[in-house]
Symmetry: D2
Subunit: 361 residues, 4 copies
């Protein structure tokens, strides 16, 4: 369903070609600083970057229709709405009949039938990540009162990979000054080239995003099933195009020995710390006080300007499909702020469920 969270809850609605899209955030305590401006800032970070993104102009101006009064949350549900400016959906109707490879068209038509509103990808559209970003701003505002910070950045585009194990403060906020959300100017250059090369070849390319979270209380996460890593993974996989999620060493840990992978404990200024962070901040489904460290794999954009084989569900014959329009040759730079938002939504819910943040006075 279109609702996530038990104690801090987000509901999304809308589709890319109706009147608009939006969300309702429920459970946020009163008294948190929140304004349309700080939401707008993150929404702007989700817009396509010049040169490497789709030139379609989506302004995504947010309206706050409830839950905030005089710049502060008031404890009741926060509703935000983003009007759709550009609603030319004529080109989408064909996809019900000749489903686009790599898109949700085919399973959606089987599930919902030919009456399904497939325009703009319907509910499965990347556009639905805009209200998630808006909701994520509320979560980040709430969590910042507890000293919890999030930083995501592009770790790889295609085969160009950032091999550094960067700290949060190294990347926080800064990467949004670079079109690819890379962690250095050199990587920006190389990643940008990787994207432009794919674009020039009429193709697209994937990549990975890393997200670091600092300031979590030790023990955050609910056993047995509502673990911190499990809940994060659940919501990260809801982002379109995500194909893998890992924590700490992740898949790399499967090739390691226990003596290498175990993070040993010591004291640092009276606090328990581990000398390495192979666990990515998670043990037994709970935070262990080290930075949470996760990576998300994005597949290459499915919409490419090449002719592709598909089926014609009307005639029962095979067909060729050429997708018109301008699409992002790489979704990863726009997804960075989405990964941050989604991570914040999960952490906010776990913090409130666990009683680390009180609902009320």
């Amino acid at each position: 369903m279109n609702t996530y969270g038990a104690a801090f809850r987000v509901t999304v609605f809308g589709s890319s070609h109706g009147p608009g899209i939006g969300c309702v955030v429920d459970g946020c305590p009163a008294g948190i600083d929140l304004s349309p401006d700080i939401v707008q800032k993150d929404l702007d970070r989700r817009r396509p970057s010049s040169g490497i993104g789709t030139p379609r102009a989506e302004e995504d101006l947010v309206q706050m229709q409830s839950g905030v009064h005089e710049g502060r949350t008031i404890g009741s549900p926060i509703q935000m709405f983003i009007e759709n400016k550009d609603r030319d959906s004529s080109k989408y109707s064909a996809f019900k009949r000749t489903p686009r490879p790599g898109h949700a068209d085919y399973p959606a038509v089987v599930k919902y039938g030919p009456g399904h509103d497939i325009r703009g990808g319907g509910q499965f559209s990347g556009r639905m990540t805009a209200p998630l970003v808006a909701a994520g701003v509320v979560a980040k505002a709430l969590l910042s009162t507890k000293g919890i910070r999030f930083a995501a950045y592009t770790r790889s585009i295609g085969r160009v990979r950032d091999e550094e194990q960067r700290s949060l403060s190294e990347v926080w906020d800064k990467v949004y000054g670079r079109s690819t959300r890379a962690a250095s100017d050199l990587l920006e250059e190389r990643m940008r080239t990787e994207i432009l090369t794919a674009k020039e070849e009429g193709d697209s390319v994937g990549g990975t995003v890393r997200c670091i979270v600092e300031g979590l209380p030790v023990g955050l996460g609910e056993p047995f099933f509502d673990t911190i890593d499990g809940e994060l993974a659940k919501l990260l996989f809801a982002i379109p195009a995500v194909k893998g999620v890992e924590f700490g060493e992740g898949f790399g840990a499967s090739e390691m020995r226990g003596s290498e992978n175990n993070d040993t404990y010591h004291f640092e200024e009276g606090r328990v710390r581990t000398s390495s962070n192979h666990a990515g901040g998670v043990l037994g489904g709970m935070s262990n006080g080290m930075p949470l460290d996760l990576r998300v794999a994005f597949k290459p954009t499915a919409s490419i300007p090449r002719a592709q084989r598909t089926v014609d569900l009307g005639t029962g014959k095979e067909a060729m499909l050429k997708i018109e329009g301008r699409h992002d040759p790489c979704i990863v730079p726009r997804a960075v702020v989405v990964v941050e938002a989604v991570s914040a939504l999960v952490i906010a819910d776990l913090m409130m469920r666990g009683g680390y943040i009180a609902r009320t006075c």
Copy 2:
């Protein structure tokens, strides 16, 4: 919390050193064939294999205490109980003070306080996967009535990797005849050696499990947040030692071009099929009718017989810890049937939530 599922629901209870462990499965329709024998068969597949597993004898005999009558489910909750035979927990009390690297001891003590029952790992113990396996048998029995089948096997141990893209029928049921749950005798040999080498060196080793699911209806999965991949990932991360989950090409897709990664459609005997399965059977959070294909990364067993650095939470000083007892040098072979079970629990819940299986007549 210790409950998973909206329409097909499992609740686990117990810990490794109390009277026993068990589960309650709620929501299973009446009339499904189920007996203690078929549950026992899977529980036995979770037992350590001779030579490469811990020699601790856990018989894990299941008792069905409700929900089944004359070999069939009756529609009311199914409760299963496994008595604990071996309850020597004396050695665990030390871990509250000197937490084991790589285990949940430290976050658990912070979360639950020193009164926490840490014996045998408490709720975070691998032993809690036994009731999951039992519940998974109910899910598999239910789903088999709809032609849905699950097969998991060991894809890698340490650096020994099975490079074949095997089909379900190639591995189904057969791998349980091999101690490592490898897909071929040759791989059994090499993986077994990898485990024994680690063991001899007083170390442990990780690995990956692949799970294939066939027979899913096209469109299974609930947008936007309760996707098939997201729900599977959530529950897979609840298995102790899991550090990564990917579908289809997974992290590999992040290095691919769209033209390579997109699975194109064609007809096969009147059914829509894709020529490749890079998507691993999932598009837009829904099954697309191709086999579901997922991989899970397990870290090496945290308990190793070498002395490790840790902290003494009592004195506030650093300490050395040597973990006594016999532990599995590699958890992966025992985890294969757990991955199958957990996948089946998720699919059963989605099938019932989506109305593909009716609760009642």
Copy 3:
């Protein structure tokens, strides 16, 4: 929280003095006829009636911002928004300090603190029933496709009671032509007098609403905890001013003998029917195929134009409070359509949870 339902789900937001109020309805299948017009019709039935209601002009014009296309639902969440026209909230600030007897002011201030947005009653305002009515229209539209119909009417105002056991067709739709929602012109006259008398005496009066539901499948309701009567009661108590809920004979059954109260079975045109309906259509938490018959008790409006004793939370002394403004001397006539709506929301959710209505094709 502000969300109800597992499979057919409503989330409400807004408060009486912010920009507006609204709801998101999730889970409604595609293809159901729905337009702003039919929603508006029920919203108008919630408006105060001339003479006996508050003269405050609330137009409550609904906007549908997502989920409907060309007069039909499209399967994605339906968002509806009602702008607040009249937002004079100056008079409410005093109630944080001198809480109104019979209102939620005092517990709300303790729960949410003095920063709480108490204007217009905040989340506890009767105004929040407007989005419930809007959501209820979606539920009724969905359920009408299965032949399920709802009819509510005013059964009593103060001591004026309708002693007839009326059938659904006798009251359906017709009562909205009478200002008190009474079932006959004579009762309209007497109930209207009861309200006007209270009003003239500077007082208010309570009453009861009866709701009848026909067309339910036998067996609707989820044991053990999600019973049809329990779920209805839960949501009915969420309507402000409700103090009691009963089914069939209700409290009267407690004085009866089993031989009187048991409804015996017989066949009627091949269908199993009971000769009486003391059970109100519910047995063991499930519908039994007879009309569902429930009654809801509303207390008299708490806001009365007389001076009342209260406390001054600022000075810690006792105080007198006179509530300005024009309030409904009796809330019952406006609540009739709310009871209908709330009943429809619960039944829609149970129908979808139980698989009686499929989410998808």
Copy 4:
């Protein structure tokens, strides 16, 4: 489903004629005093009283199989099991064909089909209230650490009504010394006679239970939908034979004027109190600090030893049914401790959801 609660959660299982019945209580913090003995004490209060109850011997000995160590909860799920001693279910098979008036037989057969395990009433049996009582003891033990106390008693049997507005301390614990759970010896006498008269006439009789809760924090209850009265009503209606629930004046309030019904505020030893408690401790879905005061209506026992008309679902003809066996002529005395338990389960969940009780250290 068979699970209730978001943060303090109970799952029940079993049926009256399988191996046994039981429950799992999840979410209870560690360190709460709990032993089989105090659970047994409440289970014994649910047993039929000599002379006025069924003579069937159900010993209901509870076993605690997890979650408690050395007399204290350990934070993991608490499982309790009650073996069924008496399983003679032969007489129940007939009821699938000739459903008992007033019982769930008919809707259950339609819902679950003829394969349904109807023995002993299946899941709809009053016997399933035994695990609820056991779970309620855990809730009461937890809440007593916060000074919250529950007291229920029989307010009426048939037409014999206790007209006193008794305080909690007047009835607490004492009523269990009387067979009818009446609040005075005189009422015990009169209520006992009422039951015995019905019994002698081959009939049964209903009644009401009142429950008082003291010590609740002001503001307990979650707006808009998870109100304290709504959640209590939901679970109270899950008790077999309940037909009505009301708070404070309840249905009586519908006949009152606002000036009578409003509870005015004053200070008492520095605390805000109301001079009357017509609201029954609930305003706007939240506790207001006054004692919570609720009443529950029970219909007369459906099983009576007189021949009753019913249908034969096999032949499609009408039939006469005479129910053999010894049944309680009045269920109310046994239901008193069940109402207490169910109220405690709801309050425990709301206390934990609202953050009034922390899950962890």
